[in-house]
C-alpha cells in the first residue's frame, strides 16, 4: 500500500467525509497541512482572523446541519478559535477543528508558537485530541467526526504536531467507529414515554417548550403534528426560531427575557410544561424557582446532564427528540382544549409585539419587519449579539428552521458576520442577510475581504444606534442612565457624563461604514429616514455583491417586552414605565 504523510491523510480524510468547504489560516506549524491542501480538491477559504474561521464553520454547520470544518496553526492561531469553540459548544453545533502544534519533541518546552490548546479547550469542546503518532491520525479524525455529529452535537478539536503532519504511514480510512466509552442513546425509555403521554392526556393547560434539539434531530414535523393533534401550544427558545410555524393559533413565539408576553403568560399558567431539546437557560426561565411553578415538567433531551440541571424534571425522557415525539404521539389523545386556547388568544391580543409605528421615526424593529416582508421569511437571517438580535428574533418571521442563526448560549458579538459568510458557502442559492449592530459588526468586519474575494454576496444590515445598545438599555433601566462606556461615538472632548446623545450634535461617527464597504469593492448604502428603508432594502436585495446597509435608527430605542434578570416571568415589562 502507498504511504501517505500525516498532512495528506488529513486532506484525504476530509474528502472522504465529503467536506465541501474548510475555513482557516496557515502558519508555521501548519505548513505541511497547507502544502497538502495546495493542489488538492479541498475547497479551502482563507480568512482574515482565525476566530472568524471558527464562526464561519459554525454558520455553515447551523445552516446545513453538516459539520463545519476549520484548520488553523498552533499557538495564537489556536487560541484565536477558543471563542468559536465555546460558542459552538454552548449551542451544540457540530464542528471539527484542526490545529497545528509544535513538534512532539519540543512540546512542553514553551517553543515558539506553542500553546497547550487541548488543555485550554478541554472545557469548551465536546472532546479533543492531541495526535502524537501518525498511525493514529485517520482513526482519530474518523472519531472526531463521529463524536461531533452524534448524540448531542458539539465541537471537536484535533491538534496535530508538525512532525506528525510530516511523518508517513499507510492510509486506511476506517468505515466504522467503535468507542466503548461513547454510545449515544437515541431511544427514549418506553415506560417514561408512556408516563409522559398519560400526564399530558390528563392535563388541561399543557405547553410545549422547544429548543435547538428539535432542529438538530429534524423533528419539526413531529412537533407540528403532535401539537396539532392534541391542541397543545408551542413556545420556542432563541435557537428554535423557525422550527414551528408562526401562522397557527398554537404558536406562541419566543419565551423568556425578550420573549412574547403571551408565551411567558402561558408557561406560567400551564399545568404541564413539555420541554423538548431545550436546556432551561436562565434567559428562558427567569427566576428559576418561580418558573412554571404549578406545572409538572416533562423534559425530553438527548443529553442526560441537561435534565434536572436547572429545573427539576418530574418525568425525564432521555432520547432523540424526533424518535421520542414519534413514539409519544401514539399514546396521546386528541383533545380540543378550547378554554386553554381561548385564554391564550386573549393574552396574545392583550400585548402583541409592538413599537411606535406612527411617529414617522426610523425604529429598528421596522427595518427587521421590512426584511421579513421582502424576503417572505425565506432568507437566512444571521444576527450578531445585542438589541438588534432580539429585534430580529421578535420580528423576523422565519418560515423554517435553520433560517435564523444566532449565538444563543455564549452571546458572542462578532459571530454574525462570519457565520453569515459560512452560511452562504453552505447555501449558495439562498439569500443571506446579516442583521448587525454597529458594535458587533466591528468585531469581525475584516472578513468582508473573504466575502468579496470569493463572490459571496452576504448582505449586512447595520441597525446603527451608535451605542452598545443592549448594555445601554440596562444602564438606562437599572443604573440610573449612567452610560458608562457604551457610546461608540464618544470622543475625548465629549463630556464625561453624557447621556443625551443626538445624531446632529454628536461627533462624526467612525468608521464610515459606506467608505469601509467601498474600500473592499462592496456596495455601501446609508439610510437615515424611515421612507428610504424599503427602497434601500430592495436595492440591497437586487445587488449581486456584498452590500452594507447602514441604517441610522433611533438611538435610545429599547427592546420590549422584557423580564429583568432575577425576576419571575410573571414580571414581564411590556414597555418603558409600564
Amino acid at each position: 500500500m502507498v504511504k501517505r504523510t500525516g498532512a495528506q491523510i488529513l486532506v484525504e480524510s476530509l474528502l472522504k467525509e465529503n467536506v465541501e468547504v474548510v475555513f482557516g489560516l496557515p502558519g508555521g506549524q501548519a505548513l505541511p497541512m497547507f502544502d497538502a491542501i495546495h493542489g488538492s480538491e479541498l475547497n479551502f477559504i482563507l480568512v482574515r482572523h482565525e476566530q472568524a474561521a471558527s464562526h464561519m464553520a459554525d454558520g455553515y454547520a447551523r445552516s446545513t446541519g453538516k459539520p463545519g470544518i476549520f484548520i488553523v496553526t498552533s499557538g495564537p492561531g489556536a487560541t484565536n478559535i477558543v471563542t468559536g469553540l465555546c460558542n459552538a459548544y454552548m449551542d451544540s453545533v457540530p464542528l471539527v477543528g484542526i490545529s497545528g502544534q509544535v513538534a512532539t519533541s519540543v512540546i512542553g518546552q514553551d517553543a515558539f508558537q506553542e500553546a497547550d490548546i487541548t488543555g485550554i479547550t478541554r472545557p469548551v469542546t465536546k472532546h479533543n485530541f492531541l495526535v502524537k503518532d501518525v498511525n493514529d491520525l485517520a482513526k482519530t479524525l474518523k472519531e472526531a467526526f463521529y463524536i461531533a455529529t452524534t448524540g448531542r452535537p458539539g465541537p471537536v478539536l484535533v491538534d496535530i504536531p508538525v512532525d506528525v503532519q510530516r511523518a508517513s504511514c499507510e492510509f486506511v480510512y476506517p468505515d466504522k467507529v467503535d468507542i466503548r466509552s461513547y454510545k449515544p442513546n437515541y431511544n427514549g425509555h418506553p415506560i417514561q414515554i408512556k408516563k409522559a403521554a398519560e400526564v399530558i392526556n390528563k392535563s388541561e393547560r399543557p405547553v410545549f417548550h422547544i429548543g435547538a434539539g428539535i432542529v438538530a434531530s429534524n423533528a419539526e414535523n413531529e412537533i407540528f403534528e403532535i401539537s396539532k393533534k392534541c391542541n397543545i401550544p408551542v413556545t420556542n427558545t432563541l435557537l428554535a426560531i423557525g422550527a414551528y410555524p408562526l401562522d397557527t393559533n398554537l404558536s406562541l413565539g419566543m419565551l423568556g427575557m425578550y420573549g412574547t408576553f403571551c408565551a411567558n403568560k402561558v408557561v406560567q399558567a400551564a399545568d404541564v410544561v413539555i420541554s423538548v431539546g431545550a436546556r432551561f437557560n436562565d434567559r428562558c426561565t427567569g427566576e428559576v424557582c418561580e418558573f412554571a411553578k404549578n406545572a409538572k415538567k416533562i423534559h425530553i433531551d438527548i443529553d442526560p446532564t441537561s435534565i434536572s440541571k436547572v429545573v427539576d424534571a418530574d418525568i425525564p425522557v432521555v432520547g432523540d427528540a424526533k424518535m421520542v415525539l414519534k413514539e409519544m404521539a401514539v399514546f396521546m389523545d386528541n383533545k380540543d382544549r378550547k378554554d386553554w386556547l381561548k385564554a391564550i388568544d386573549a393574552w396574545r391580543t392583550e400585548h402583541p409585539l409592538c413599537y411606535n409605528k406612527n411617529d414617522g421615526k426610523l425604529h429598528p424593529q421596522y427595518v427587521v419587519e421590512k426584511i421579513s416582508e421582502l424576503t417572505r421569511g425565506e432568507a437566512i437571517v444571521v444576527t450578531e449579539v445585542g438589541q438588534h438580535q432580539m429585534w430580529s428574533a421578535q420580528y423576523y418571521k422565519a418560515k423554517n428552521s435553520r433560517l435564523f442563526l444566532s449565538s444563543g448560549g455564549l452571546g458572542t458579538m462578532g459571530f454574525g458576520y462570519p457565520a453569515g459568510i459560512g452560511a452562504k458557502f453552505g447555501n449558495p442559492d439562498k439569500e443571506v442577510i446579516v442583521v448587525a449592530g454597529d458594535g458587533s459588526f466591528q468585531m469581525n468586519m475584516q472578513e468582508m475581504a473573504v466575502a468579496v474575494l470569493n463572490d459571496i454576496d452576504v448582505k449586512v444590515v447595520i441597525l446603527n444606534n451608535q451605542y452598545l445598545g443592549n448594555v445601554r438599555q440596562w444602564q438606562e433601566m437599572f443604573y440610573g442612565k449612567r452610560y458608562s462606556h457604551t457610546c461608540l461615538a464618544k470622543r475625548k472632548k465629549c463630556p464625561k457624563w453624557c447621556n443625551s446623545p443626538k445624531r446632529d450634535t454628536c461627533p462624526v461617527y467612525v468608521p464610515d461604514f459606506l467608505k469601509w464597504a467601498q474600500s473592499y469593492g462592496a456596495l455601501g448604502i446609508r439610510v437615515t429616514e424611515k421612507n428610504d428603508v424599503e427602497p434601500a432594502l430592495k436595492e440591497m436585495l437586487r445587488t449581486k455583491n456584498s452590500v452594507v446597509l447602514d441604517v441610522w435608527t433611533e438611538i435610545e430605542e429599547n427592546v420590549f417586552p422584557m423580564v429583568p434578570v432575577g425576576a419571575s416571568l410573571d414580571n414581564i415589562i411590556t414597555r418603558m414605565n409600564g
Partner: protein, 164 residues
Amino acid sequence: MRHTISVLVENKFGVLARISTLFAARGFNIDSLAVGETENPAISSMTIVVKGDDRILEQITKQLNKLIDVIKVNEFNDIEHVERGICLIRIGLNKSNRNEVMNMIEIFRSKIIDVSQSSVIVEVSGSEDKINDFVGKVVPYGIKEMCRTGVIALHRGQSVIEGK
C-alpha cells in the same frame, strides 16, 4: 453527604485533567481522589470522594458519564462495599511518650515501617474514619509529618463493575 464514586476510564494522558477540569468548572468539590491502573492496562480506575446532596451527586455522575473517555461510573453509597485508604505518619518519640505511642499503634493494628532515634513512621490503613480516629489519637504525641491517600473501594460479594 459523603459519596464514594468509582470511575473506570481509558488509561490515556489527559484523562485525569478532564475529570479535574470538570469538577472545577462545575463547582463540585473533590474530597479525595485515587487513581491507578486496573488489571487491564488500557483501563484506569478512579475512586473519587465528594460531598454534596443528591442533586449534586446526580449531576456529577451524569457529567462524568458524558466525558468521552469515561467508560463507567458507579456510586457506592447504596451498595455494600469496602473502602480503604493508607496514611503514613511520622510521630516524634521521647522517653515519656514511647510506650503510649507503641500501644496506640498496637491497638489500631498499624505498622511501624521506619524507626529513628527521635521518631517512627507509622503506616495505618483502613476506612477514612479509622484513619481519622488514629490521627486524632496521636496528635497529642506530636505529628511531625504525614501524608495520606484517597480511599479506594470495591463492592462486597460478587458484583463487579466492568468496563465493556
